[in-house]
């Protein structure tokens, strides 16, 4: 049991290293969200502290979303280059490989969350009690799980090329419609009502509530849990289908 656990973490460590060495990953999940956050909040004289806080949470969520989805790109890549097949002939069971990947996802979302929160606190002067910072970071971290599962599902189901395209579509679609870039209040009514069903909107909503010192609403929690279950099923089915052919 302990060897199983240490093998899984050793595998996750290897995959985390590989992910962080991917320059495309670093730029798109650290550079882009931080830059967009600073641009959106400092152009056009938007000095409203509430907006700076809300945008900070939105962009941190956007960064975490991108990092979580990119996990699928890695899986699809390793499916095509034979690494997943090579892993199958090591004593490591396929289940531990997936667990290690999910663990990788849980770690590689942290830099984007941290970077945007740091930019908020240090550059944009966002102020909150320490406990609230911790709560916001934790909510962003845990809330990214459904997207990690979505990324895994894409990676196991699709070819590398298709995974890239689908990830970009999921990333932009969920970010924009979920109100991570622009507040949902600016949306026409019909789009706002669509937004309220998206996992990204509920993800950011929960973290924003904490940033404003409120407790996240049960609707948000229930919807997020529902999406997590849906994406989890998608990931499990995709994995099982591909496990036979890897």
């Amino acid at each position: 049991m302990s060897t199983a656990l240490s093998t899984t973490t050793a595998y996750a460590r290897l995959e985390i290293r590989r992910t962080l060495r991917d320059q495309g990953f670093v730029i798109s999940t650290l550079g882009v969200p931080v830059m967009m956050y600073l641009l959106f909040t400092n152009l056009g004289g938007q000095n409203d502290p509430a907006y700076r806080t809300a945008a900070m949470v939105g962009m941190a969520a956007y960064g975490a979303l991108g990092a979580a989805l990119s996990l699928g790109g890695g899986v699809a890549e390793d499916k095509s280059n034979g690494w997943l097949r090579q892993l199958r002939i090591t004593p490591m069971t396929p289940r531990r490989v997936v667990t290690g990947r999910a663990l990788t996802g849980a770690v590689v979302v942290l830099p984007s969350i941290g970077a945007v929160l740091l930019a908020g606190g240090l550059v944009n002067g966002v102020r909150m009690p320490v406990l609230q910072w911790v709560a916001v970071a934790l909510a962003l971290w845990l809330g990214s799980l459904p997207f990690t599962l979505l990324g895994l599902g894409n990676g196991y189901r699709l070819t590398p090329q298709a995974t890239g395209a689908v990830n970009v579509a999921c990333n932009l679609g969920l970010a924009v419609v979920g109100g991570l870039w622009f507040p949902v209040e600016l949306f026409p009514d019909w789009l706002a009502s669509v937004a309220s069903w998206t996992p990204t909107y509920r993800f950011a909503e929960a973290a924003r509530a904490l940033a404003e010192g409120r407790v996240p609403g049960t609707t948000a929690m229930v919807l997020l849990a529902g999406w997590a279950a849906l994406f989890g099923t998608y990931a499990a089915v995709s994995y099982r289908r591909s496990a036979r052919t890897i």
Binding site: L14, D78, N81, W83, R85, I89, T90, P91
Partner: protein, 323 residues
Amino acid sequence: MTKEPAAVFETVTKTYGPVRAADGLDLAVRRGETLALLGRNGAGKSTAINLLLGLDTPDSGRVVLFGGEPDRAVAAGRVGAMLQEGRPVPRVTVRELVGFVASTYPVPMPVADALSLAGLTALADRRVDRLSGGQAQRVRFAVALAGHPELIVLDEPTSALDVEARGEFWAAMRGYARRGNTVLFSTHYLEEADSFADRIVVVDAGRIVADGTAEELKRSAGGALVAVDLGGAPAAFLSGLPGVTEVEVRGDRARLRTADSDATVRALAARDAIRGLEVAPLTLNDAFLALTRGRDDRRARDTGQGTTQDAARATAPNREPIR
């Protein structure tokens, strides 16, 4: 005391669409032997290896690895393998990769040993995806060795290596086999099978067509080659001579494959047909061609059409390095 075999195929079949990639394979791999699966591209070597490793399941029959299911032997860390189709793993160094794979095995080889056996010590901190094809092939060899497995399975292990690297590779492999480990490799290089294997299993169209040492293979393919000049005489009578199994005429010279060279030569002498006589033992190459060609002829007769191997050869004539 006889030990149970390392691996056993019991009448294993596997079909991919219309292709019978394994067509009733029966084979027992003894412990400690170095066995070559020899065959052309598309003969079914990789299929046999994938079945052996549990990467694929047979349509019928059974594969037993160390007395149980292949998955169990793999999970117990008794097998290391080098697959054919792998590309380098991106963004990882040689040491990280080999070290990680070693760590998944219960009793691995020290990473430094695996690196040195594969000739990678100087490249340990280089990224795997930035190595040359031959170096990357050595990384895959180190990955196969890292767990210190009892059985090592190598699918076309030297296809990307130059002559010198090939020599080094086989030296390392021999060292590993000498420690009592079992080695199974597939190849389409006859010389490799001849020089490095204790036992050669010739696979063709998903079947085992011969099994034995190089000498036994040559014998089973039918003895020797006899060549004579025709001196303008018609060649028709040659195929009726005792022992002759095949006649090939090039210009004025006839080359006969014979199961009994003595009888053939006596018959030639009786007909006063000895001109520029040459008698030579069959080379492994001749034996291989005879063993595999025989099947093609039979199949072509059976089905009235060419085989998948013929098609493969027609589309990829340069990829047939059997010499």
